[in-house]
Amino acid sequence: MDVDNTFNIQFTIIFIYLFYVNLDLCDLMKVDRIKNNPLKLAKKILHDLKASENMGLLRCVQCGMCTSSCPGAKNSGYNPRDMVKRVLEGDESIINDEEIWNCFYCYTCHSVCPVGNSPSEVNQILRQTAIDKGIVKDKVGPFAVYGDSFLDIGIGAIPKSFFMELNEDIEGWLDLKSELEEIRGELGLGPITIPNESIKEVNTLLKKVGFNKRIEKMK
């Protein structure tokens, strides 16, 4: 009898304690949620132009299929499932996380996700956010020249800054570049370049949307 009573009292105390602590926690969490609006980041991503229509970001079930098929995850500390989790928790530090720069944009995750989410596009948008904040010049700076040459010649080209390394790794790569026009002639193909009038058009259009300023900010 005594033993039983003691047990009951202890149980009740523990119960009451847990009840209040829980209430407390719930309240705290509620306040926390309202204050921090954890879905703000996710909603920003969903509204980005780079996000596919009806992207299933909010439907993510954390199954990990993205990570299990991801070449970035296989070969670095990058983890797309965890990246999506942090986005859904409103953890903005993910924007500064070095690991997001290990994604290949291969869209394997995008094609296997059971709920139509696209970690690949989430990643692209996070990187854009980091670029807009001006915090990743070391990451995008070397690629910014791609934009310059697009403004100059109206089409894309491998950035000149990578030419020497490419030529070191690939025997005869620069020789090939110098023979290109001739080879294209042998193949009966037209010029690589576009007419001056077209270059002007491309240049005018891109400047109109501030592309040149965007490029300068990356450097």
Binding site: D48, L49, K50, E53, P71, K74, S76, W101, N102, F104, Y105, C106, Y107, T108, H110, S111, V112, Q124, Q128, K139, V140, P142, F143, A144, Y146, G147, F150, G154, I155, G156, A157, I158, F162, E165, D169, I170, E171, W173, L180, I183, R184, E186, L187, L189, P191, I192, T193, I194, P195, E197, S198, V202, T204, L205, L206, K208, V209, F211, I215, M218
Partner: protein, 313 residues
Amino acid sequence: MKIIPDKNILLFKSCLVSTEYPGIESSTKYIFDQLGVEYIIDHEQSCCSGLGYYSDVFDQTSTTLIAARNFYVTKKNNAKNIAVMCATCYAINKKSVKLLNKNNEFRERINNVFEESSMKEMKYEKGSLNPTDNIFHVVEIFFNKKKEISKHVKIDLSNFKIATHHACHYCKVHYEDTIEGFRNPRMLDELVESLGVKTIDWYNTKINTCGAGFRQRFANKPISMKVTGDKLLELNEQNVDILIHMCPNCQMQFDRYQPYLSKELGVDFNIFHLNITQLIALAIGGDPYKTVGIQTHTFSIEPLIKRISEDTI
């Protein structure tokens, strides 16, 4: 299955095809001519800006603005369809058509830029292109005509062991439009079969990405090379002679870096890398140098040509 066109086509120029493997373009033209596919090329067309987009340099607005101008070039030629030779051109153009059709506010913004730049003839009219019915990879056009291709075959390739590499930006980005599967893609395998050769079909790394990863090849070479090497190692174990591509960027990753990886990994890789357009052109009688353009390959295709001529004798 979706209807695949054989006329009113703008053959969309690709920066990497033009500068790395122009043989892809001349082979495509050669096959189109043999099959009677009607197409035009317009040098006023800019490129898709995809290399910039996927190395985070181009934002969506800039990329779609350039795409909309290219759509105008298409319309000006009375072409209704765009056929691309590069998987990234495919993904980028489809994405831009989808956005321009669905997002009214965004389309207005793009059209205003044209208006304010005195290029109002370039304005995009909602629905003037359909992402599924008007944007194609040239391989889909060949696939649709594979019975006819079979009739043109002049060279026996059955002594070669062939595997396929289906480009991620064709298979996985707009997967709802991908023909012949994206989890076990078979479009290239069936095309190779129409040339009279059975491929090895499925292999463990079949759907693995090439490893270029846009910025990764340049900024993160060790992991880029690791991904490329993994695939080459498996193909080597399976004694594959030829790997078939459908994207100049993948082709560049494998062909240009194979000798580098042979040294790095201490494995003698002897795999020929050909684009499907080059393989078909070769099989139906195209000249290796004047049509197929093997002279721009890093891992020489000459031993392959030699083996073919020995087999034929």
